[in-house]
């Protein structure tokens, strides 16, 4: 297992809101995400999981602290630069999939390549190959409404990994799935981490996903309270 850091975060502080209503969502969080690892970020609602995921994914910038993605710091970056970091290095998976309902599975995956400027036959071949990786090569023409929840999440995973990003960040990827589909999705994410040498971070409070993790980080009240390595 490779341990090259993909994302490094140190002393992250995130304050949300202003004045009396200000909330400290993160209070000095430091962590690294390495290739070939599936890391679980667990904690109760309001613990700061999604805020941390947003900062690690360069969607938000922290109030204090430093985030480096593949060696590039996101601090002080403008919206366009953050978008470039996300485009080049990060794939996202969301609880409610966020697939484009008017596009078929292949086009949903192609979209992630299109925003990177990869188009034409190359994009179609690459998207088709990734759909095969997630076991949906037969359903490339189906629209999201014609797919089950598990299948939709697999399309979302294909979209997240198609540009071969260094990190895949998943927000409650099993939250909307039943046990069987949830396990299938987690198995797929574990395979992606190990076989494709991605760093996968899964934010969850679903204990059923624990067996798939290489590492479990628990967060509470904006602080990392424990970190456990498995295997």
């Amino acid at each position: 297992m490779s341990q090259a850091p993909v994302i490094e975060a140190s002393d992250l502080v995130m304050r949300l809101g202003k004045g009396a209503g200000q909330v400290e969502a993160l209070r000095g969080v430091s962590l690294t995400l390495n290739t070939g690892e599936l890391t679980l970020l667990m904690g109760p609602s309001g613990s700061g999981k999604t805020t941390l995921l947003s900062i690690l994914g360069c969607i938000l910038t922290p109030t204090e602290g430093v985030v480096r993605v593949c060696g590039k710091t996101s601090n002080g970056a403008r919206a366009g630069d953050l978008a470039r970091l996300r485009r080049d290095h990060i794939g996202f998976i969301f609880q409610s999939y966020h697939l484009f309902p008017t596009l078929n599975a292949l086009d949903n995956v192609r979209l992630a390549l299109d925003v990177r400027g990869v188009r034409g036959g190359v994009a179609i071949d690459e998207a088709t190959e990734v759909l095969a990786t997630v076991g949906l090569e037969e359903k490339w023409a189906a629209r999201p409404s014609e797919l089950s929840g598990g299948e939709q999440q697999r399309v979302a995973i294909a979209r997240a990994i198609v540009g071969d990003p260094s990190a895949v960040l998943a927000d409650e990827p099993t939250g909307a799935l039943d046990g069987e589909n949830g396990r299938a999705v987690m198995k797929l994410l574990a395979t992606i981490a190990r076989d494709r040498s991605h760093s996968v971070l899964v934010v969850t409070h679903d204990p059923r996903v624990v067996p798939f993790a290489d590492r479990i980080i628990c967060i509470e009240d904006g602080r990392i309270i424990s970190e456990e390595r498995r295997n």
Partner: protein, 375 residues
């Protein structure tokens, strides 16, 4: 098909009712604009039709004449002075003016007399009789589209103007007046009588230059020799007539105002529908942002939606315009469409739709990609 265009078209067609509302808005707007501008073009052509058909290199007009229909007169003796100028081959008098036509059924209707002799301003597009027939006593030429108004059926019908007998000797096709008052052509002396103008008073002199004569030099000499008149080139007289009727009377402003209103209405409808469509797809645009797309990428989706609306809306509007064109072809004021006008209309449609996308673009430019975690 590019993915941006596919996404744009699917977004556009997803809500059929909204799509139809958008297209109806654009069609309404563009048809309104094209009819107003088409009327403007038709009006512009019709107000100069007499000038366009007069065989003149220069027009001598009474000082201060505002348009062809201006009743200002000057003395016919100017003709002799004009023809004495070197370079002038001929100067043919024209009289114009309103009179009262008594139709055979006993009613009356106003008519616009145009009087001129051979070589002057004579009727064209003749479909009955011939010009030589106009030299017969009491002979006049009228357009067949005015038969009902004049209460006549064709050549040979008789009636009176200011109690003077006349008969239809020549019939034309398509010589219509934008004032809706029928033109009646007659030789100079009889037209003066029908109008009630003294024989020594005329409206215009149509100057024909001798071969090789310099227009400006002749004009300068004419101005030196003649008094209380102006000497205009046909282009100058055309412009003066157009400016008077289109802008001096407010008719042009009304037509342009209508066109502007059409653009505003269309822009508001397209802006409203694009904005609401964008709001409906905010999560998708936020997802694109989270995936790292540039603002420009998302803006292209919205602009593609606007462009697609413009093309479809314009195509539908063009079909309706064709119907308007055909149905007004024989009316008093036909709508005129030219390839150039259509090109302009398309440009207006595209600009209107893209400008309408600004509100939607501002909305997506400010979109927070963190929205994807909130839904």
């Amino acid at each position: 098909m590019s993915l941006i265009f596919r996404l744009a078209s699917r977004n556009l067609f997803q809500d059929r009712l909204r799509f139809i509302a958008t297209i109806v808005g654009i069609v309404f707007s563009i048809v309104l604009v094209s009819v107003q501008l088409g009327l403007f073009l038709g009006f512009e052509t019709m107000v100069t039709t007499m000038i366009d058909h007069a065989p003149a290199d220069l027009w001598i007009v009474a000082r201060g004449t505002k348009c062809f229909e201006d009743p200002s007169l000057f003395d016919k003796s100017n003709r002799a002075r004009a023809t004495s100028v070197a370079g002038v081959a001929d100067a043919i008098p024209v009289i114009i003016g309103f009179s009262e036509w008594s139709d055979p059924q006993g009613g009356t209707t106003p008519v616009f007399l145009v009087g001129s002799d051979a070589g002057g301003l004579r009727p064209w597009n003749i479909v009955g009789g011939n010009l030589a027939d106009l030299s017969k006593p009491g002979a006049v030429a009228v357009d067949r589209s005015y038969f009902d108004r004049l209460g006549v059926n064709g050549i040979g019908d008789t009636t009176t103007v200011r109690d003077l007998d006349l008969h239809i000797a020549v019939v034309t096709k398509g010589i219509r007046s934008f004032t809706t008052t029928p033109y009646v052509f007659a030789p100079l002396a009889r037209a003066q009588a029908y109008i009630g103008t003294p024989a020594n008073r005329i409206s215009y002199l149509l100057v024909r230059l001798a071969p090789g004569a310099n227009v400006e030099a002749v004009r300068g000499q004419l101005l030196k020799k003649l008094t209380k008149v102006e000497v205009l080139t046909p282009a100058e007289f055309r412009k003066r007539s157009r400016d008077f009727w289109l802008f001096g009377t407010g008719a042009g402003a009304a037509l342009f105002g209508g066109a502007l209103l059409g653009v505003i209405v269309g822009a508001v409808i397209v802006a409203q529908t694009l904005y609401s469509s964008t709001k409906d797809h905010l999560t998708e645009f936020a997802t694109l942002r989270a995936m790292g797309s540039s603002s420009f990428y998302i803006q292209r989706v919205i602009i593609s939606q606007a462009m697609l609306s413009a093309v479809i809306g314009f195509a539908c509007a063009a079909c309706l315009d064709l119907v308007v064109l055909v149905s007004t072809a024989n009316s008093a004021l036909p709508v005129v469409m030219t390839p150039r006008l259509m090109a302009w209309l398309f440009a207006i449609t595209v600009v209107m739709c893209i400008a309408s996308a600004i509100a939607a673009i501002v909305q997506v430019t400010r979109i927070d990609p963190a929205l994807v975690f909130k839904q």
